[in-house]
Symmetry: C2
Subunit: 319 residues, 2 copies
């Protein structure tokens, strides 16, 4: 569920007086999303999303995220655009939380990924990378390679309870990944979490990208690797190379991967897989059994990791 903080009608009405977006018409909690509380908000001026930022988000970083979204929207990428209040600020406080209103995007996220989703998704990722090119502020990726060893250290004790030997397997994989991690590939702003529930489609085309709160400045091709992991594996763990080929072709039509980026795809995919395996493992180990949060099985990403560790070069991904 994605409403952790409730907003009274008086508080909401008071909050809206800061904006020039008319009077309230409707207000509903949104089920999607796990990090923040999201509400769909209709006013006499149109439809918006109200987000209350919960404790996992560092309030000091919100201006960077909102600035990136505003920048991307200004470059023609369809993503939630922060709505500025009359005082010029998009970031305010509501119900004891940092809060922002953004524009509403049409579309539906695909619950079941088909090959036809993958080329438009790749192209949208390429557009995101180009559109972000001239956004000057940077944000280090806390969940990038430098964050993985500390993360493993914090959940290694619980790994073997998930599967015997998993702790040692992850440690060995991580050592190998870090030893071969590329240092000289093109860097830019990446979404870093472009899973299917963050991509809206309408009539077969991407109608918008959402949820930029893991975005950071990192290797652009690493973002491609995250999408290969998130979009190209079947529920049974099989890698669907037709989807991968479509995704990479869609991306290349907008931004060409260099030879070095292509050559690095196996290790980038290994990195992307271990990153999600580790955060899911961390949540698995540290989430109380009774918590109202869906824990995602870390083994889904351990299996992806094993696949990528056997990939010798970019041909494994259909290139």
């Amino acid at each position: 569920m994605a409403v952790y903080t409730e907003v009274t009608d008086e508080a909401l009405a008071g909050f809206l007086t800061n904006y020039d977006i008319g009077a309230m018409v409707a207000f509903r909690g949104i089920a999607e999303g796990v990090e923040n509380s999201n509400f769909s908000l209709r006013t006499t001026a149109g439809d918006f999303i109200l987000t209350l930022y919960e404790k996992r988000v560092d309030v000091a970083e919100l201006p960077w995220f909102l600035g990136l979204m505003e920048h991307l929207a200004g470059r023609g990428l369809v993503c939630p655009q922060p709505v500025r209040a009359r005082d010029g600020c998009a970031l305010r406080k509501l119900a004891g939380r940092a809060a922002a209103i953004t524009t509403f995007l049409p579309g539906v996220w695909p619950r079941r990924i088909r090959v036809e989703h993958c080329a438009p998704l790749g192209a949208a990722l390429g557009q995101l990378h180009l559109a972000g090119g001239d956004y000057a502020p940077t944000r280090p990726n806390a969940l990038g390679p430098s964050g993985w060893a500390p993360l493993l250290a914090r959940c290694a004790g619980g790994a073997d309870a998930v599967q015997p030997g998993l702790g040692a397997e992850l440690a060995a994989a991580l050592a190998r990944i870090l030893a071969t991690w590329p240092g000289d590939l093109p860097v830019g702003h990446i979404h870093a979490d472009l899973f299917p529930d963050n991509v809206f489609f309408l009539d077969g085309a991407v109608s918008g990208l959402i949820d930029f709160y893991f975005a950071a400045t990192d290797l652009l091709a690493y973002d491609v690797a995250i999408c290969l992991n998130a979009w190209c594996f079947e529920a049974d763990g099989a890698f669907n190379v037709t989807k991968a080929r479509a995704l990479l072709a869609g991306y290349a039509a907008v931004r060409a991967l260099s030879a070095a980026e292509q050559a690095a795809l196996p290790v980038l995919c290994q990195g992307a897989a271990i990153r999600f395996a580790l955060t899911r493992l961390f949540d698995w180990v540290n989430t109380p059994a009774g918590a109202l949060v869906t824990r995602k099985d870390p083994m889904d990403y351990v299996r992806r990791l094993r696949f990528h560790l056997l990939a010798s070069d970019a041909r494994s991904y259909g290139l």
Copy 2:
């Protein structure tokens, strides 16, 4: 959370071809609601709610509920109106569930109840009772007095784990309530679950009532008693007689309570309190600790029950 069943974009698009409500524009899960999966659906023709009925709802009863909503909407009560497909049917199947599309209602449900909400709520309840007067089909109230003893029997074993002595206390209260339950008060269709999250407000007026899936044919004044329980107690358990007076005055302005109904208010309120205490206790005892459902504390309604057991007559409720 209130999305138990996911709907693929293809399945949804196929479903919509049965209707004359245009093409899909947006589709989001709704956080509110605990029994069914609800989605806000925008098409080129407007906004709708898609409900997938989950296992607690008896599919055979859905035509009664949808018929009631259609009837009430036809009498001017603002409630979700079932949208009929081209074949005339409002009830279909989607993603393995019975499913219906209803109209979207504006408004916001009050997270914090103020006195000013209570008179409009009472009036809306009165309008609901009048509007339902000529809906001929009836539905016995499975959660009415005849259902309470079986319910208690199924969770009595767990009651004392919630609070020592609770099983005996509830059994004694139930015996007293059933012995004095009125048999000759006006009967009609009641909402039976008109809690604040089922009532939308806009600019201080009720803009709509939702969630009729506990509605049944029972004593009208029992519905008033349910609302006194749901709207007039503070978070600390105190009864707010000002709110009760406003609620009853709002109701009386639309439909007058007879002298017999007024005299029965204490036992009707006792019954309403024990009904919610019992279902919450049942869920408390039978919900696994790790389930993704918020268990509501049954003691909130045990405390209300204790209050009502001390009420001697309608003056306790401000009359």
